[in-house]
């Protein structure tokens, strides 16, 4: 049985990239550090266990990166994906710090490799973890434990004792028993609330019942909620979350990356009524995949079907479940439990509207439809070559945007205008400061590592003073 200490210098709530970076940084400055992770050991690390890379600015190509990625370019990418929903001062500070974080993370035992097969577009900007996010976590935990950081698993925080702007103690539940842990500084790195369906319903209503959660069931946002209830200033849209369309057959939680589908641009997408509802060929998939969760969430029963034919089967990354297969459109509709006549009508109208063109999925090609109320702008090819295929899809929720407001020191800001005395935040729980909307691959890990390290160092200094 795990017995936590009654008093530490730095208490870290959470167990992912941000939490471990904070713990390691604080411990390296001499603080006594306790990491309290709500999940059991196997599921430790929240969304970090499903990540695969981080986006850091760098001046030159390395063994693992194909070219330079300057601070300004990083900032422009961030500004574009967030459509300006970012704190420029904080974001530029993070980007500047990201240059140092790459070697720092490597010093903590994390190893890198060139970009994975099928991700060549990220080879210049993103550093891929050798073995993926869980390998990265394993390395960080190993380093933390070697340094003397204590870690307790399966231990959700159930109460925070905060008096005005100062943290006093946390109550942690272990094997049904509550333990009070006092600390000189708190680092909250416990992620968002994407696995908390009730909370998601506040923004999405009943349809949230049909959402699938891409990460573990432990991302419940309890720490975030307790902080906000105790007067910490919030940031980010409380109703928003990052949602992509994933295979509807995926488990409710923790299906991870292998349930994603990259084939929308190769076919058409219909809802339960066998009607199309969005231009599948509007733009390149990496620029559009993040809107499809929201689009499917708006359809009846929050379900849709990507339909394509034999021509396209091998043109995209494989995924966990095989597509539904049929030798005719009628048979496919029956297998999907869709109304047959409307389905065939939608397909026939689409096929008739496809104009001749030269198909090339690597560019915005000239294969498009004409005469439909809802066009497909690129990569439109007739769906006429048996066997026919379909993937059912549902919204898959990756992360939430609501968080705690922080400054450059990762110090929480209070709703009454002051700064927190001894409370710091890092990772998804404060990502909304720089990522108020949208997403750019690998940026969650950058936020976690950069602010995790800062939070850990400031928390340790705070504990010394």
């Amino acid at each position: 049985m795990q017995i936590p200490p009654k008093q530490v210098d730095v208490l870290v709530l959470g167990g992912g990239n941000a939490a471990l970076c904070a713990a390691i940084a604080a411990r390296r400055l001499g603080a006594s550090v306790l990491v309290v992770e709500a999940a059991p050991k196997f599921y430790r690390g929240g969304n970090t266990r499903h990540t695969r890379n981080m986006r850091c600015a760098h001046d030159a190509a390395t063994d693992h990166l194909t070219g330079p990625y300057g601070e300004d370019e990083f900032w422009e990418d961030l500004y574009r994906v967030t459509e300006g929903h970012t704190d420029e001062d904080l974001a530029r500070y993070m980007i500047a710090q990201s240059k140092d974080i790459l070697p720092w993370i490597a010093e903590q035992g994390v190893r890198f490799q060139p970009s994975l097969g099928g991700t060549l577009s990220l080879g210049r900007t993103n550093s891929f973890f050798l073995g993926g996010g869980r390998a990265m976590l394993n390395a960080l935990y190993l380093t933390a434990e070697k340094l003397g950081v204590q870690v307790i698993y399966d231990a959700p925080a159930v109460h925070l004792d905060i008096v005005k702007d100062a943290f006093r103690s946390a109550t942690v539940r272990i094997d049904g028993a509550d333990h009070v842990i006092r600390a000189k500084s708190l680092v909250a790195a416990a992620g968002g609330f994407e696995a908390n369906i009730e909370w998601l319903k506040q923004g999405w209503g009943e349809p949230a019942d049909n959402f699938l959660i891409r990460g573990t069931p432990y991302n419940r946002g309890d720490v975030l909620k307790m902080l906000l209830d105790n007067g910490v200033l919030p940031i980010g849209d409380p109703t928003q979350c990052h949602a992509v369309a994933i295979d509807a057959r995926a488990p409710k939680f923790d299906g991870g990356i292998i349930t994603r589908l990259d084939c929308v641009v190769f076919g058409i997408v219909v809802n339960r009524n066998a009607e199309r509802f969005y231009d599948e060929g509007e733009d390149f998939w990496p620029k559009r995949y993040a809107i499809w969760g929201r689009l499917v969430a708006a359809q009846p029963d929050q379900i849709a079907y990507i339909v394509f034919d034999a021509k396209s089967l091998r043109m995209f990354m494989p995924s966990l479940f095989p597509p539904v297969e049929a030798n005719s459109l009628e048979e496919l509709a029956a297998k999907l439990d869709l109304p047959v006549d409307p389905f065939v009508k939608t397909l026939t109208e689409f096929n008739d509207a496809v104009r001749p063109g030269t198909f090339d999925h690597t560019e915005l090609d000239d294969c498009r439809t004409e005469g439909l109320a809802l066009q497909k702008s690129h990569w439109a090819r007739r769906i006429d070559q048996a066997p026919f295929y379909a993937y059912p899809v549902r919204p898959g929720i990756t992360f939430t945007y609501l968080g705690t407001r922080v400054d450059r020191d990762a110090r929480m800001q209070m709703a009454d205008g002051g700064k927190a005395a001894n409370m710091f935040a890092a990772g998804e729980i404060m990502a909304g400061n720089v990522l108020g909307r949208g997403y750019a691959a690998g940026i969650g890990m950058t936020i976690g590592s950069v602010f995790g390290r800062i939070a850990g160092e400031r928390a340790a200094q705070n504990a010394h003073d």
């Binding site: 196997f42 266990r49 499903h50 695969r52 190893r111 490799q113 060139p114 994975l116 097969g117 099928g118 891929f128 973890f129 050798l130 073995g131 993926g132 996010g133 869980r134 390998a135 394993n138 935990y141 190993l142 488990p251 923790d254 991870g256 990356i257 292998i258 091998r314 990354m317 494989p318 995924s319 966990l320 095989p322």
Partner: protein, 371 residues
């Protein structure tokens, strides 16, 4: 039936892994997998033999047990790999040797040791077993010894070649010219250094998610120990027949210079590997093949130990029995070589050669039943 289940599970896992690819940089298995969309039995046998069992992909996998996707690549490929030894064994009549391999090898060894003891005793006066003459060939004339071991070695060689040919053909090695000099050289380097038994660079995972394993060191001791012992025997034979210089040899002569460190390697290496096996995370072990793995390590260990013991007790009354045991163990080692874990080295080498060829050709091998 069991074998089919293992292949089915391996096929399922390769589909899961192919849609993730996070482990791509850890070893050769995953890049080889990425060249494929479908996995015929032969493809799976190839991938299984390419896997060194370092365990990194298990420790790194977000979907390994207790996750409901139950992704356990090291264990599943270990099962398929062991099944493949049976599938390709020659002649077919001896394939059941793999079903209860530990017992089978123990029986062959016991019978062969007993036969040598009995043979010496019946051939001569039983007292010869306890004489302290220090002369091996008084117990068994050199020509008889060389003839017997030459014959069993030739048989083992034939069976190994036939098994390897079946594997090589089945995995489609010819379709990408895996037998070319360059790929064989690459495979030799990869095998000699155990390039893929390093957990992707930090050491293997054996007990838990910490890369603290040193099976590579113990495997090197075992393999190079074996090769040194082989060299000792070979130089001894050359001395005997071509230089007319029969054993025993002095401490500074080649047979001793090879044999002593070789014997030590064969004792320390298998002991270390056995220790690692006993501590291995149960999820990564193939419990059905524990006997086969253990028998192989025991044979190596016994070969080294009895060889060293023979050197120590040569001029004592224990020499006769020790020699009989040593020769019995070595005879059994050769006799069972094509029907046990020993084969892993050959199939591993073949798989590494095919991998090198596929990398060069940038396409997968063509296997039976697939275009």
């Amino acid at each position: 039936m069991h074998m089919i289940d293992n292949l089915k599970e391996a096929e399922r896992l390769m589909t899961v892994c192919n849609s993730c690819r996070y482990c791509e940089g850890l070893c050769a298995v995953f890049p080889a997998m990425e060249l494929r969309r479908d996995f015929a039995d032969a493809d799976l046998n190839y991938l299984a033999n390419l896997c060194h069992g370092c365990g990194a992909c298990y420790a790194d996998c977000q979907f390994s047990p207790p996750h409901e996707f139950n992704v356990n690549v090291p264990q599943t490929l270990a099962k398929v790999r062991a099944d493949s030894y049976r599938t390709y064994a020659w002649p077919k009549a001896f394939q059941p040797m793999f079903d209860r391999n530990g017992t089978a090898i123990a029986v062959v060894t016991a019978v062969s040791v007993a036969a040598f003891i009995l043979g010496f005793a019946l051939w001569h006066d039983p007292a010869v077993l306890t004489s302290d003459s220090g002369q091996f060939y008084r117990l068994m004339p050199h020509n008889a010894m060389a003839g017997l071991f030459g014959a069993i070695s030739l048989y083992a060689l034939l069976a190994i070649v036939m098994g390897f040919r079946a594997f090589w053909k089945d995995i489609g090695a010819g379709s990408v010219s895996a037998g070319s000099g360059l790929t064989l050289w690459q495979a030799t380097k990869d095998a000699a250094g155990l390039r893929y038994l390093d957990g992707g660079g930090v050491g293997c995972y054996n007990e838990d998610e910490k890369p603290t394993d040193n099976r590579r060191l113990f495997h090197h001791l075992t393999f190079y120990g074996f090769m040194l012992c082989f060299a000792a025997t070979t130089t001894g034979t050359i001395y005997h027949y071509f230089l007319d210089w029969p054993a025993p040899y002095g401490w500074t002569e080649l047979p001793k210079l090879f044999g002593i460190p070789g014997g030590i390697g064969l004792v320390v290496g298998p002991a270390g590997l056995m220790h690692a096996k006993l501590k291995r995370h149960k999820d990564m072990l193939d419990p059905a093949r524990f006997g086969m793995d253990t028998a192989f390590l025991a044979m190596m260990f016994m070969t080294g130990l009895t060889g060293l013991a023979l050197m120590v007790v040569r001029e004592t009354p224990a020499m006769g029995v020790t020699l009989a045991i040593h020769l019995g163990v070595v005879f059994a080692l050769f006799a069972t070589m094509p029907y046990g874990k020993f084969m892993h080295g050959f199939y591993r080498f073949g798989a590494l050669a095919l991998y090198a060829a596929e990398r060069k050709a940038e396409r997968p091998a063509t296997t039976a039943g697939k275009s």
